[in-house]
Amino acid sequence: MKTILKAALLVSLAAPSASAAELTVMTAGDQNMVDYVNEYLGPLFEEQNPGNTVRVVGTGPGDAGSQKIVERFEAQSKAGTATWDADVAVVHEKFTGPMVKAGYLESYRSKIDTGALVTRANADMALGSDVSGYVMPMYNSQAALAYNPALVENPPKSYPEIVSWAKEHPKMFGYNGIKGGASGVSFVMGWIYAFGEGDAKNLMTGPFEESETQKWGPALASLKDFTKNATLTPGNAGTLDLLSRGEIAMGPVWVDMFYSWQANGQLPPDFKLVLPAPGMPGQPMHYVIPAKSANVTLAEKFVQLATSPKVQADGIVTRFNWYPGIDAKYVQAELDKKTWDKLFTDISPEDIATKSKPFPIAPYNNAILEAYEKQVSN
């Protein structure tokens, strides 16, 4: 025991950054994000970096949670604070572009070992903004249709099939519009990809052209008709809630949220997911490091640990059934086949490859949302 203590002491004295620091992690997202850092990642990091502690602050689910982190940075930037009170933040993809543009972030990917393990396009471009180097994906989140197999025998495989299914089963399809969370937004974006007259590819990669925004009229008109025959649900959680009590049979949800509801016993274990063609948008949650963090080196170490194949395998895939942030092949190597396959019970790797889309680039994204506000919900 004594020798271990001595060794630990020696190590902590020898390490240059080992002066005890408190690493503050701010995370948007649901309670399980906070729990993840508190119960798993934090203790693991503290074990590997003795003397340092990790504390986590949850800023709330959805875009609002990420927005609160942006605002916090903005306040500190405007106040001219020398060192900021966050060392690592976990935010939705959409907010990374503006943060990079405002100069809040540290470019760190090339400085950590795991930086090379990420090659997915959405780690470089976030809704049309270049964020290369500034972000590391924590996990990739995907929207999909959840359904109640007792009420839906043959789930629709594509958007046109959803339309005809919903026509035959009035009010049994539910989604949360666009103001109650991003699962509804993802469904709407998928609708535009499927039925919009423009080029869906251009929506996802740009460049933005004003004329494209005129091509959604008929698609939105049909969405309005569709919505009349559907049930509107109160929020991302509302869709799951109505699904769980049998009021709707099908609706778009976040895959990660779907699994945590099942894990919490709020959703029957036999409920299933399907990713309809041509696809629905998903998005990564990114780790970012504020440039004015007081503990940049330690923060980099933290993200390096969080994006290491081992942690991605044990933490992200095994614990939560979430899609890993770094490239799949590195994570798969860490896992047995059964655990890995569980990730693709309902949605196959081919589905992910072909039907997992990014959200439209920011200007299109905003234009579609505003067109929806004008034409569908008014």
């Binding site: 508190n38 949670g65 500190q76 009170d85 919490n264 709020q266």
Partner: protein
């Protein structure tokens, strides 16, 4: 929801009341029962969720019960107890400060000549009336400059700004309701202005002031946005947990947190009531 109308005292002259007496328990019990359902129905839902391990359709009640979510809320690293302590401390300080500011202000607004009285009252309403989010960013910026971010004082100041409308408006109403003749009578027998205020005006306004204290306390205990912007990450407050859990639809953790927050709320109210009963209600009617 239309039930409480029946709870109105039924018009009945005192002469006719006697023979009917025995039957009146029926509507009374019915109305009380309905009211109990309306109030405790949703609350039962809340309590059930705190111990539900599995609960979904078509089961009307949870399928299995347990305390695993309690363990999650109170896990050593979750700091729920520390957050609860902070929340209660901040709420108490907020009440004390708000009352200290509101009693003189309310008295002046109710009793003394004041220029722009309407505008002043309106100013207190602002923090409730204008959506906060855009404003908090500005407040946070100022607080960063002043070094108030991450301090208890900073959080208390923000909560107090929000609570002042309750304490000032209610104090004003309470002081205006005090019969001015009682004060004049006291003054005419030679009591000083301060003594009149202490012995006559303040006690009579006390029920209102204490009610306002309860609201300020509750408002502070439930506040999220300001607690996040000004308090976190150094001062953790319980509603941060509540908002993350509830917004994401984690019913168990949100319900447990809400239940935990009930304890200080109800405790505070009971203390206030005890204080009210012994000190004030005896003076009422004299």
């Amino acid at each position: 929801m239309s039930t409480t109308n029946d709870a109105m005292p039924v018009p009945r002259s005192s002469m006719k009341r006697l023979p009917m007496m025995d039957l009146w328990w029926l509507p009374r019990a019915l109305v009380l029962g309905l009211l109990a359902f309306v109030i405790f129905g949703p609350l039962t839902n809340l309590v059930l969720w705190t111990v539900a391990e599995r609960w979904y359709f078509p089961n009307a009640l949870p399928m299995s019960y347990g305390f695993s979510f309690w363990a999650r809320v109170f896990s050593p690293r979750g700091n729920a107890m520390e957050a609860l302590g902070n929340s209660v401390l901040v709420a108490m300080l907020t009440v004390i400060l708000a009352l200290a500011l509101a009693i003189p202000a309310g008295f002046a607004l109710a009793r003394l000549k004041l220029p722009f009285r309407g505008l002043i009252l309106l100013a207190f309403l602002l923090p409730q009336a204008f959506p906060n989010l855009p404003v908090y960013v500005n407040i946070a910026r100022v607080f960063y400059q002043l070094g108030l971010n991450g301090t208890i004082l900073g959080v208390v100041l923000v909560h107090m700004t929000h609570g002042l409308v309750f304490s000032v408006w209610i104090a004003t109403a309470a002081f205006s309701a005090v019969d001015i003749e009682l004060e004049q009578a006291a003054r005419s027998v030679g009591a000083s202005a301060i003594r009149t205020f202490r012995d006559i005006t303040l006690p009579l306004a006390m029920p209102g002031l204490m009610a306002s204290a309860i609201f300020v306390f509750l408002e502070s205990l439930d506040e999220f946005t300001g607690s996040y912007f000004v308090g976190a990450p150094d001062i953790n407050m319980l509603p941060l947990l509540l908002y993350t859990a509830s917004g994401g639809g984690n019913y168990q953790i949100a319900s447990i947190t809400a239940l935990v927050l009930l304890v200080p709320s109800i405790g505070f109210m009971l203390v206030v009531e005890r204080f009210l009963k012994s000190d004030v209600l005896s003076k009422v009617g004299h």
